[in-house]
Symmetry: C2
Subunit: 328 residues, 2 copies
């Protein structure tokens, strides 16, 4: 495992020692469990490593911090092939390196299922952490990174399609589900831009904005017209609707109308928008900024904070599931 | 969960922020798995929490650092009673507090079995970490904390005895197995005394001294006469021998002689010494100190480092298992 630039003592002793240049350390832990967060028939070992690392690394970025180190605990059956474990380590190390972190410690033990616990450490470079609780009425709400792509990829996999059978534009959605690629450096960037609140989208945009709204004591309204519901998402939704005659169509018996009402329920457009609003695991970063903040291009304004409570879409409560239930 | 004095941001945001006063952070992660490291019919939830915390906290102490924070990840079946989870949290918090640390972060998810992953963070207060690799020929080797008590307690439990059925002196051994109590403050103390190498005894004294010997490029010789093989250990061994007529006795067919030969194989004295030499999970600290170091009373000199390689007892290789296999 490669050590990061701030690793003073890496793997092999009782504990690691990591430099904390600014006198504090940011730390988060996340679990990744077989059958709940990944399936070994869908994910290669490398993919599982990337995903496990990304979940924790994104939490550090969402505080406005730079990742410095990962510690990895792996429980696995004795039957787990050594090759699989090696692929897993490769995926973890590659994603850690992409975030600028080293893998500095770990533990392994026998378990009935494959469970990974990844702890990420980060440094704030002297800045204050960007919490969930700082958004104020009038703040812009903006997102950096993809939304809905992981959910679309999961829907394709769940329909029995694999990346090999799909055109490149849809195969990329499957890849986005298997190997999320959070924009880690957008976290410290947001902090420098004066972000008042930030979170990574792990549970779904509306659910995670709900955490920000609750912690900040504001209402967050999302402007659906500003969400980038990309062509690939609509294409994936159309492919799935065509492949599944049981799916509701405009001509069928539609479910009750949902907000926003711009798209007929069950249409590919509505499905794609639903992935964007409620799909988790892309680990995009969503942040609030003081009104008038000049944002770099990758920060897309999608709404604003207002006096009130909860999350609305185009001023209306969103109906349907806001949360992300993984695939079980 | 109580936050520690150095917690700047605790549970509830994307990540915790912990003060790292001396500009570096010490970090270690350990797994605790049901059926391997604990049994729910033997351990109360509180006990499991104490043990999970102690494993990681002891790693930080073994670097000469002071514990500052814990992050806890718990995978558990949906059938786990909420009362059990609350007891677990209490045990973790209590042991963290004993070490001066706060519980600052966590994650929970459904899993088939109960698995805990505990990450401990610590601070060196500006000192260099005490690694495994610094022992030099001539160094004293000394231990702080109990040896063999956890193994004795496990043997009593494995024989079907519970603390309730046992006299207090033996019940205390069962308690030592269920709720290890590492001497955390002895870690920084050893660092201040100039320790050249240190490790916590999690795998067994000989096995862990083997790690120090290998990393330092020395031989470590243990003087069995200096090991405190307490009366309670001999009493436990005698009770077990009396209760199990199948156990080898002096009159039976003894296994090949082991070193040290002072006690007949299979005698209570030999069993007790074996627990001290090879029993794990007490998390005593064992350290090397320059010759002539004046050690406080709780640091018991048990041997010395010499030119060579490996670990010997009274100058002879130790036969039999050196490692600790938990109870599976």
């Amino acid at each position: 495992m490669p050590a990061g630039p701030l690793t003073s003592v890496g793997i092999g002793d009782d504990a690691a020692v990591v430099t904390a240049p600014s006198g504090s350390v940011v730390a988060a832990v996340d679990l990744l469990i077989e059958g709940r967060h990944f399936r070994r028939d869908w994910s290669a070992a490398y993919d599982v490593g990337v995903k496990a690392a990304a979940r924790s690394l994104a939490d550090i970025a969402a505080m406005g911090a730079v990742n410095t180190a990962l510690l990895v605990a792996l429980a696995a059956p004795g039957t787990l092939p050594a090759r699989w474990a090696a692929g897993l380590a490769d995926g973890i190390a590659a994603e850690a390196a992409r975030a600028g972190a080293g893998v500095v410690g770990g533990d392994t033990a026998r378990g009935d299922e494959v469970i990974l616990s990844v702890t990420a450490l980060g440094d704030l470079a002297g800045r204050r952490p960007v919490l969930r609780s700082g958004a104020r009425p009038g703040d812009l709400v903006a997102v950096a990174g993809p939304l809905g792509r992981s959910a679309a990829g999961l829907a394709l996999l769940s329909a029995g399609l694999s990346a090999r059978q799909l055109p490149p534009v849809l195969a990329a959605l499957v890849a986005a589900h298997l190997r999320p690629a959070p924009p880690y450096d957008a976290g410290p960037e947001a902090a420098l831009l004066g972000a008042t609140a930030m979170i990574d989208v792990s549970d779904g945009l509306l659910a995670d904005l709900g955490h920000v709204a609750a912690a900040s004591g504001v209402l967050v309204d999302v402007d659906s017209a500003r969400l980038a519901v990309g062509g690939p998402l609509r294409e994936a939704a159309a492919s799935l609707a065509a492949a599944d005659p049981a799916a509701p169509t405009e001509a069928g018996n539609p479910p009750p109308p949902v907000s926003p009402a711009a798209f007929p329920a069950g249409s590919p457009e509505a499905t794609a928008l639903d992935w964007v609003l409620t799909g988790g695991e892309d680990h995009a970063l969503v942040a609030a900024f003081p009104p008038g903040t000049a944002l770099p291009a990758r920060w897309q304004v999608i709404g604003e904070a207002r006096a009130g409570a909860g999350v609305t879409v185009d001023g209306l409560p969103h109906q349907g599931p806001a949360g992300w239930e993984h695939f079980r």
